[in-house]
């Protein structure tokens, strides 16, 4: 229990650091006002707009304001949407969340059998094939994979919808696209974990009891090699979110990814800041959960 509280306390400085960096960056970057006016607006019009938005105050004053507002969950008005930024972002969260969960599930479903198989068939053709494919899975840029999958499964075979969010079928291609890199990573990780575990003394003990190879691998090996995988998934959540950003654009998935990208293009500071915060908290939360889960599942780690 105290461990959880300690972990939670560690999150505070993390958020503070994030807020600081985000604010600094937004401030050294350019001016949103030019984007809000017509393409041929005059310089006087621009100046007037800046003043009305409070962008002419000193930076420190702006940061103070920023921080106190962030505490209240206010990231300011979106220049584009003309409303509080946070609700806009939170509105997109379920879509991204759905995509992430599906991607994680798919990558786990793919990687467990492949990783184990690859490890026990080590250095055979099967291993080479699995390792090769998983490296390929990592080597392909996300958007490229997405477009290819779309061409094959939606345009030529016409068995899956092209884009957008809706039924479970809509989820398949985006989830595969997002999850592939992680599946590849997990497969490789699981393989090496498994290889490690296969060398452990307790595997020899299990075999010395007369257990069959299969039970040794699955009953004694898999659970031990899966534990570090939890940590790996948590560590990869951040990369996964990064991949999801791109996938969302490819598949017109109405999540945070699309929002943040259009907000960056429009220099919608408030929305970008809110997105970064929400994503950061999302990732921190996922890591936190994984940490707890790990502690629950692994009897070696005492609750502290």
């Amino acid at each position: 229990m105290t461990y959880i509280i300690k972990k939670l306390f560690q999150i505070i400085p993390v958020l503070f650091i994030i807020s600081f960096v985000v604010f600094i960056f937004v401030n050294v970057s350019g001016d949103p006002v030019v984007l809000m006016l017509p393409e041929d607006a005059s310089n006087e019009e621009i100046k007037a707009m800046q003043e009305s938005l409070g962008l002419d105050k000193p930076v420190i004053v702006q940061y103070g304001l920023f921080l106190s507002n962030v505490m209240k969950g206010q990231f300011g008005q979106s220049f584009v949407y003309k409303q509080e930024a946070l609700p806009i972002v939170l509105e997109r969260l379920p879509a991204t969340f759905e995509l992430m969960i599906a991607a994680i599930i798919i990558s786990i479903l793919i990687s467990i059998p492949l990783g184990v198989l690859s490890a026990i068939k080590r250095n055979t053709f099967i291993d080479l094939f699995i390792s090769g494919t998983s490296v390929l899975g990592k080597a392909m840029p996300n958007f490229w994979l997405g477009l290819m999958l779309m061409l094959v499964f939606s345009v030529y075979l016409q068995i899956l919808p092209v884009s957008s969010r809706g039924s479970l079928l809509h989820l398949v291609l985006p989830a595969i696209t997002t999850g592939t890199a992680m599946a590849a990573e997990l497969t490789r990780m699981l393989r090496s974990q498994m290889l490690d575990v296969l060398h452990q003394d307790y595997m020899r003990t299990a075999r010395s009891k007369g257990l069959s190879h299969f039970s040794v691998v699955y009953k004694h090996g898999l659970r031990n090699s899966l534990l570090p995988v939890i940590t790996l998934i948590a560590l990869n959540i951040s990369t996964l979110v990064g991949g999801a950003l791109v996938t969302e654009v490819v598949f017109a998935w109405p999540g945070i990814g699309q929002l943040v990208i259009s907000a960056v293009h429009a220099r919608d500071m408030a929305v970008v800041q809110a997105c970064i915060f929400v994503i950061a908290i999302f990732v921190i939360g996922a890591n936190f959960l994984a940490d707890i889960l790990y502690r629950v599942v692994d009897p070696r780690i005492k609750y502290r």
């Binding site: 105290t2 461990y3 509280i5 300690k6 306390f9 502290r304």
Partner: protein, 344 residues
């Protein structure tokens, strides 16, 4: 126990408590008492063996003497100087006189450094030699520990465990220290190699008039090398005496049982003392038992032992100190004559 003022090393009431508190809000701190009020002194040229079960605080004591850990309480006076009072810079200079030999011949040598550099590092650090002089000193030292000069340009992994341990000894000796702390230097070695290293240490001790602290849990090895032996239990020294005294006439029940646990050296001596062997295991040093810490496993313990902590006091035998309310007074069958009698 009274400390000898002229001794090379005096350990005075030294304690080391590790903070193992849980959580951040709890007001009650939890301490692991690794070393709890240890006193002894060491004369120039003496070899003190320290024995005890795993986790009883032997290494921590060694680290405290080496100033690798700061004592929670107490003083370590070396050569008349209290080490913890030295500034970081002075301490670094003082380290020239106290060296250490480690247990694991694999992890104690930097795998990325050549043997020459490993042995030369202390000399370079203290700017004691350079150029050809450095070379000569390093080569001499390798010679002394029985390694060929041509090995100087190799990396540690090219050596066997025994050879590596020799490199470690050479490194400790280059500075001509006054005191060497050996933390289980032979535990990781094979029997035949172990004998080589023990003999080497003895030879060097005579040659350089070294003072040694020899930590081990292999009691026979300690017996072979030391003049005096200290027995530790749960962070405390329970008995300390001259080697022969301690082995033939152990006064602490723990010492006795420990000695009886050591496997016999001949099948004919088997199971003579089955009943005196220790049962149970050492309690956790986080919550050591009150009173005499050994009372949970002691066949002679009574109420007093549960309440009062015995001090380390001198017995009738001179220089034989024991921390027990009821010290034993009986000869242990251990001298060679009686053993020989059984064997014949």
């Amino acid at each position: 126990m009274p400390l000898n003022k002229d001794a090379l090393l005096q350990v005075k009431g030294v304690k080391k408590y590790f903070d193992v508190s849980e959580g951040i809000f709890t007001t009650k701190k939890k301490y692991l008492k690794a070393v709890d009020n240890v006193n002894f002194s060491l004369k120039q040229g003496e070899i003190l063996g320290i024995v005890g079960e795993s986790g009883c605080g032997k290494s921590t004591l060694g680290n405290l003497i080496m100033q690798l850990e700061n004592p929670t309480e107490g003083e370590i006076i070396f050569d008349g100087i209290e080490l913890s009072k030295l500034s970081a810079k002075e301490l670094r200079r003082k380290r020239k006189d106290i060296q250490m030999i480690f247990q694991d011949p694999y992890s104690s040598l930097n795998p990325r450094m050549k043997v020459f550099d490993i042995v030369a590092e202390p000399l370079r650090t203290h700017k004691l030699a350079s150029g050809t002089d450095l070379k000569k000193q390093v080569y001499d030292m390798l010679e002394i520990v029985g390694l060929n000069n041509k090995y100087a340009n190799r990396y540690p992994h090219e050596f066997s465990g025994g050879q590596r341990q020799r490199i470690g000894i050479a490194r400790a000796l280059t500075l001509k220290p006054k005191l060497i702390v050996c933390d289980e230097p032979v535990s990781a070695l094979d029997v035949s190699i172990q004998a080589q290293i023990l003999n080497l240490l003895l030879k060097l001790q005579k040659e350089f008039q070294l003072t040694l602290i020899f930590i081990a849990h292999g009691i026979p090895a300690v017996k072979y090398i030391s003049n005096r032996i200290a027995v530790m239990y749960l962070g405390k020294i329970v008995e300390i005496a001259d080697k022969e005294q301690l082995l033939s006439n152990p006064k602490h029940p723990y010492t006795e049982s420990l000695l009886y646990s050591v496997p016999v050296s001949h099948p004919k001596l088997r199971s003579n003392h089955e009943q005196s062997k220790l049962t149970g295991e050492m309690p956790s040093p986080v919550d050591p038992p009150p009173g005499c810490r050994f009372h949970t496993r002691c066949p002679y313990a009574d109420e007093k032992c549960m309440e009062e902590t015995p001090d380390l006091i001198e017995t009738q035998d001179k220089e034989h100190y024991v921390a027990c309310h009821y010290p034993l007074y009986r000869e242990r069958v251990s001298n060679s004559d009686s053993v020989q009698a059984i064997l014949d």
